[in-house]
């Protein structure tokens, strides 16, 4: 019985992963297709990458998107970490359930509603739409994701370390930066990366909140795809996939290394 079960398990996991990865693999392979038709293989070529490098509008959009993601992810990480600390540490306070509602609601809220409501806000307070309004919108959305990620780490955090520092006369602010932050750092880094990729990825909210001169890469890709499939999109997709894969692998290696070092330090402390 045990054997039959594990055969079923292996097959379902293998099929599931094939489903998750096949489209991405196909996309990468066809980015090196010489043919203008996306589905007909015309031999290996890097011509779409060359064409991409000469497409100034696409490069501009990529540059805007990158700056936007760096800025909004950083803001979102600060705000989201504060929100997570509030949620975990401050027990009951007036408006706590409202606060927790405001943190969880954006995670599931359809983008069209969030985008529309932010746009109307910007219109009613009459600020020019563009780079900055998209930054504000992305910060708001992604800080909630950061808050949830950091919160899950804070819940399992050993508070006695902080209390010891405070008892020894370390000011609260310093305690946070010396003790708390390094211990929750993996979650903060993961939160930042999540915020960064969510911002890189967003089409709907950016479309609502942007203005002239701030066309993001997803908006550019979307409008090109609407005209018809072009192999250039495959090339830019492959570049983005590669960047993300490198980033995620680097981050997981970094976390693993920290974990190993932490365990080593713990062992030493125990022996000492």
């Amino acid at each position: 019985m045990r054997k039959g079960q594990s055969w079923f398990n292996t097959t379902s996991v293998a099929l599931g992963f094939a489903f998750l990865y096949a489209p991405i693999v196909i996309l990468v392979i066809y980015s090196f297709n010489d043919s203008k038709l996306v589905t007909v293989w015309g031999g290996f070529s890097t011509r779409w990458y060359v064409e991409l490098l000469n497409d100034q509008a696409m490069l501009d959009a990529a540059w805007i998107t990158l700056r936007l993601a760096l800025l909004s992810a950083t803001l979102a990480t600060v705000l989201g970490t504060l929100a997570a600390i509030t949620m975990v540490r401050f027990g009951r306070f007036l408006g706590r359930s409202l606060f927790s509602g405001m943190i969880y609601a954006p995670l599931v809220m359809p983008d069209v509603i969030t985008g529309l409501s932010l746009l109307l806000l910007f219109v009613s307070i009459d600020i020019d739409r563009g780079f900055w309004t998209v930054t504000l919108a992305h910060t708001t959305l992604t800080m909630c994701f950061v808050a949830v990620v950091v919160q899950s780490r804070l819940v399992v955090f050993d508070r006695s370390l902080e209390e010891a520092a405070l008892d020894l006369g370390c000011p609260p602010f310093k305690t946070f930066f010396v003790i708390t932050l390094p211990l929750i750092l993996p979650a903060v880094v993961a939160g930042w990366m999540l915020a960064f990729t969510l911002s890189l990825d967003d089409l709907v909210i950016a479309s609502f909140t942007t203005g002239p001169g701030a066309t993001t890469l997803p908006m550019k890709i979307f409008s090109q795809v609407k005209f018809g499939v072009t192999p250039e999109i495959n090339a830019i997709s492959t570049i983005l996939i590669t960047i993300v894969a490198i980033g995620v692998i680097a981050a997981s290696l970094f976390n693993k290394r920290r974990e190993v070092e932490r365990q080593k330090a713990e062992r030493l402390a125990m022996q000492g």
Binding site: T39, I103, F173
Partner: protein
């Protein structure tokens, strides 16, 4: 001195709460009331393209005069015009069917992952998350190349000899379902895996020792234990799918009616902002029930 320090840290505490709280109030909650306000307005040939609803610029009298111009026409038209009714119903139908499909696809994957050798598990979780880090738009776009008439799927089926003529998948609801299941799968796998992984396997061994067939053991033991994961996963996918715009726009045809698409067109193509706002308000009202249920489920799992 200690008391003074405590007092100072108390003030600091409140400042820390105030910053994210104020941010979310200004950029998340208040904008919803703004949408609600605008949904009572009427369209105008101006910039912005709607009649102001109320403000105190014209004094109290002006405020009341404007208040009287408010209209429920936008909301009512959503219930009387069959186009909108159809879009709402069709969104809910697509979201419900997709949620069930995603659950059916995700369960065996999550189960297999949770029963994989322990040293493999964290890598498997990583591999489920990895596609999620790559662009959603690009992953949906990849399906255009697969599902099209000259796409890889039709090519493959023709080569197999299952069909002798390409079948139309792209621009139908089928393509929308495939795209949705594909895009939202990780959101279901992860909560399911989290509950299944924690499960004590000796329960199944005990059931087997007592002569319970595996399938019955699954329904009587495994499935009830995984129920919190099932509930969390279903909410996580159902609500955003209802308002989905990108997938029906890229993979579906003109026959695919979804409310996210309707809102987008009212806003960008017809430039009817008040009506788009009303569409959002009614969609939000429909989603309030699952959102509140989701929040309660979150609170219950937090309390544990």
């Amino acid at each position: 001195m200690a008391a003074e320090a405590k007092d100072r840290s108390g003030k600091l505490r409140w400042l820390l709460v105030a910053i994210p709280f104020a941010w979310l109030l200004i950029f998340f909650l208040i904008p919803f009331f703004n949408v609600l306000k605008l949904s009572f307005s009427t369209r105008a040939r101006a910039l912005p393209p709607y009649k102001p609803v109320f403000d105190f610029a014209d004094g109290i009298a002006g405020f009341f005069a404007k208040l009287q111009q408010l209209t429920l026409a936008n909301h009512l038209s959503l219930f009387t015009d069959p186009r909108y009714v159809e879009a709402y119903l069709s969104s809910l139908k697509i979201a419900a069917i997709s949620t069930v499909l995603i659950l059916l696809v995700a369960y065996p994957i999550a189960y297999g992952m949770a029963r994989a050798p322990r040293e493999w598990r964290s890598m498997l979780v990583m591999m489920v998350i990895l596609p999620f880090w790559t662009s959603f738009l690009i992953r949906v776009y990849a399906w255009i190349g697969i599902l099209g008439n000259e796409g890889l799927l039709n090519g493959f089926l023709l080569w197999l000899g299952v069909i002798d003529q390409p079948i139309t998948i792209l621009t139908t609801d089928w393509a929308v379902y495939i795209g949705i299941v594909y895009s939202y799968l990780p959101f279901m796998i992860l909560p399911l895996y989290a509950t299944l992984e924690k499960m004590d396997e000796t329960l199944l061994e005990a059931a087997a020792d007592l002569g319970c067939p595996p399938i019955e053991a699954f329904w009587k033991i495994t499935f009830p234990i995984s129920l919190p994961g099932v509930v969390a996963g279903c909410f996580l996918v159902f609500i955003p799918i209802t308002g989905e715009f990108v997938i029906p726009e890229l993979l579906g045809g003109s026959g695919t009616k979804m409310i996210g698409k309707t809102l987008w067109y009212e806003f960008f193509n017809n430039r009817n902002w008040p009506l788009a706002s009303a569409v959002a308000v009614v969609l939000l009202l429909i989603l309030v029930v699952p959102i509140v249920l989701f929040q309660n489920a979150q609170k219950a799992s937090e309390a544990k």
